[in-house]
Amino acid sequence: MEPNTSNGGRTFSRRWVLGAGATTLLTTGLTACGSSDSTGDSGTVTAFTYGDDAAKVQVKAVTRFNASAAAKKAKGKIKLEKVPGTDYPAKLRTAMGSPNAPDVFFNWGGGSIKAYQEANQLVDLTDTIKSDPVLKDGFLPSVLAAGALKGKNYGIPMRGMQPVILFYNKTVFAAHKLQPPTTWAELLDLNKKLKAADITPFALGGADIWPELMWLEYLVDRIGGPGVFDKIKNGDASGWGDPAVLKAAETVKQLIDDGAFGKGFSSVSYVNGGAPAVFAKGKAAMHLMGSWEYSTQLGKFPDFAKNNLGWCAFPKYEGGAGDIRNVVGNPTNYWSVNARTGNKDAAIAFLRDCASEAYAKDLVANGDIPTTSNAEKLLDSAPNPEFAKFQYQLVQQAPAFTLSWDQAVDPDVSTPMLTEINKLFVGKSSPAQFVSALKGLK
C-alpha cells in the first residue's frame, strides 16, 4: 500500500476496504476468490463454473478451446475455476464485487443475473448472437430466450436442459392397474385409488421447499397460462393477485389436506435422498421433479431407474388457459460475460464452442440433454435414449418454458417467496393469506 500513502493519507482505497470487509464477513470457505487477477492483463480469461460432476464437460471444453486456432486468433486462454456448488451464488456475488471478478461465469439466467445487469456488469450479447450464425442457429430459441432479460440476451446456454417432469413408479402403477394422468381429474382419481391402496400418491421433499415450488409453478401455468408468471417476473407484484395464483394455491391446499403427499413431507428432503428413496421403494407412486431425478435414481437405485421409472408431462387442468405442452424448470444454465473483461474476443470465441457438436456430445455422454439445435441426432448415444428423446421433444415442442420462479425473480424476492410457499404447505397460512403476502413482496 506504499504508493497510496502520499495520496493525502488515503492509505486504503474504499474498494479495498469494502472488499476486505466482504471477505471477512464471508466464511473462510468462500474467501478463496480468484487467485489470478484476470481483468486486463495477459489476455487470460477466467471462467467460474458450478463445481459438480457435470463440470467435467466444461473442463474438456476449456482444454479443447485453449488448443484451438480460435484461441490463438483471439490471443487468449481460458482458466476454469470450479466453485463448490452450495456456495456458488454467494461466492460469485462476492467475486463480482471485487477486483478478482471472473470474465465469464455460470448462472441460471433471469433473476440470478439481474443485479449484475443493473450494475452494468454484463456484456449485452444480443448483437453478437444476431450477427453470428453459429450462436444464432445453434440453440433452441425458447432456451436462448429464457436466458434473456427484457428482450436482451446476456447468456449462452452451456449445460443440459432441466424440465420438471411427472415421474411415476411403473411397478406400483402396474400392480394397481393405473395409467399416468393426462388431466387433473385423472390425477385426483389416481390420488383416491392410491390412498385406498395405502400408498402415498406423491413423494415430496418439502424440507427443501423448492420441490413444493414445482407444484405451484405447474398449476399456475396450467390454470392461468405462462403470462401470469411472466408479469410477476418482470417486476409487477400485482401479478400475484391473478386469480390463477389463488386457484393454484387452493388446489395445492386441497391436495395437502387430502393426504396426497403423505403426512411427514415437510421433514423429507430431496437433497439427502429421502424423497427419491420413498419413490423408488414404492412407498410413493409419483414424484414431480426436475429431469435430474433420472440420474439421481440411477445413482441410488439403478435397477429402479432402468426398469421401473416412468415419466409423463404434467397433466392438463380442465378449463385452464395453459397448454399441456408448456414446461417449467430450468431451461439450462448459461455463461455470461463480465463487462470488465480484458479480452472480450477470447471470451466470445470460447462461448461459441458451446454450440459445437463436440460440446453437445460431451453433454450427452454425461447424461445431459443439450439445448443445441443439433442435439436430437446425438440422443441415440445417450445412456437412456428413450428418456433423452422424451425430454428433448418436451422442451423443443414447448410453446413456453417458464424458468423456475426462485431463479427468475430477484434474490430478495425469492427468499421471502419460498418462505411463503413453505408456510402454505405446512398449513401456517391459507391460500388467501399466501396471495396477499406475495402481493406485498416488492
Binding site: 474504499r14 474498494r15 464477513l25 456475488r93 421433514s267 434474490p411 405446512v426
Partner: protein
Amino acid sequence: MRSRSSPRPYRGASPHALLAVPGVLFFVFFAVAPMVLAVYLSFTTWNGLGDPKPVGLANWDKLLHDSRLTQSLTVTVLLTVTSWAFQTVVSLLLGVWAAGRQRNRAILSAIFFVPFLLSSTAIALLFYALLDPNFGIIHQDTLGSTSGAFLAIVFVGGWQFIPFHTLIYQGGARQIPEVLYQAAAIDGAGRYRQFFSITLPQLRNTATTSSVLMIVGSLTYFETVLILTQGGPGTDTAILPYLMYEAGFKSYDFGYASAIATFLVVIATALSLVLVRLTGFGAMRSTREGM
C-alpha cells in the same frame, strides 16, 4: 494464595509488548474491523456489487418495524432459555457424577465427551437423517411441526454441548474439599442433603461460567438451524443469526443484514454484562474463602 502486594520477583523479565502485536492485529483485523464495517454498512444499502449507498436510518427503521424480528427475538429467547435449562440440569448432574470415583466412570465420561469432538455441521446432518420420517428413528413429521422442530434444535444443541459443560462441572465438583462432605456425613447429612447444601452452593461460580457460555453461545447458534430446519416450518425457528444469514447471503441485502448483526452484537454484549453483574462473577470471589 499469593497476596497482591507481594513483590514480583521477575520484574525485568516480563515479556516485551511487541509479542502481543500479532494477537492484537489478528483481533483488530478479524473482530474489530468487521464489526466497525458492519455498523457502517447498516447505514447503507448494498447488494454486494458496486459501492454501498448511504441510506441513513432506513435499515434500522425497517428492523424496528419488521414483524419477523419480533418473532425471531421471541424464538431466540425461548431457545436460549430452554437450551440453558436442559443443558444446565443434565451437565450439572453428569458433571457431579463424573467427579466421583465409581467403577467405569472414566470410560463412560470419555464416551460422553465424544459428541463435543464432532463438528456441529456433522452432528446436524446426522440428526437430520435420524429424523427422516420414512427412514429415520421416529416415524413422525418432527421437523415439519413447530414444537418438533424447536425441540429438535434444543436437543441436538444439548447433545453437542452438554459434554463440554459436564467437563466444567466435573472440574468444579472436583475442587470441592472432601472435608466438607466428611463433616456433613458426621452431622448425619444424606446424599441429597450433601448435594443441595454443599455441592450446589460450591458450584456457584462454575454455574455462572457455564451459563454465560451457554447463553452467549445460544445467541450465535446457527449451523444446526440452517441444516435442520432452515428457519422452518414457515419462519417458526428463524432465530436472529439465521435471519441475518438469510438477509445477507440469500437476499443479498447486506445493509439490512449488517443492521441485524449489529443489533445482535449489542444484545449479546448487554446480556453478558448483565449476567456478570447479577451473578457477581466479575468480582471473582473465591468459593474457598473463609475455609
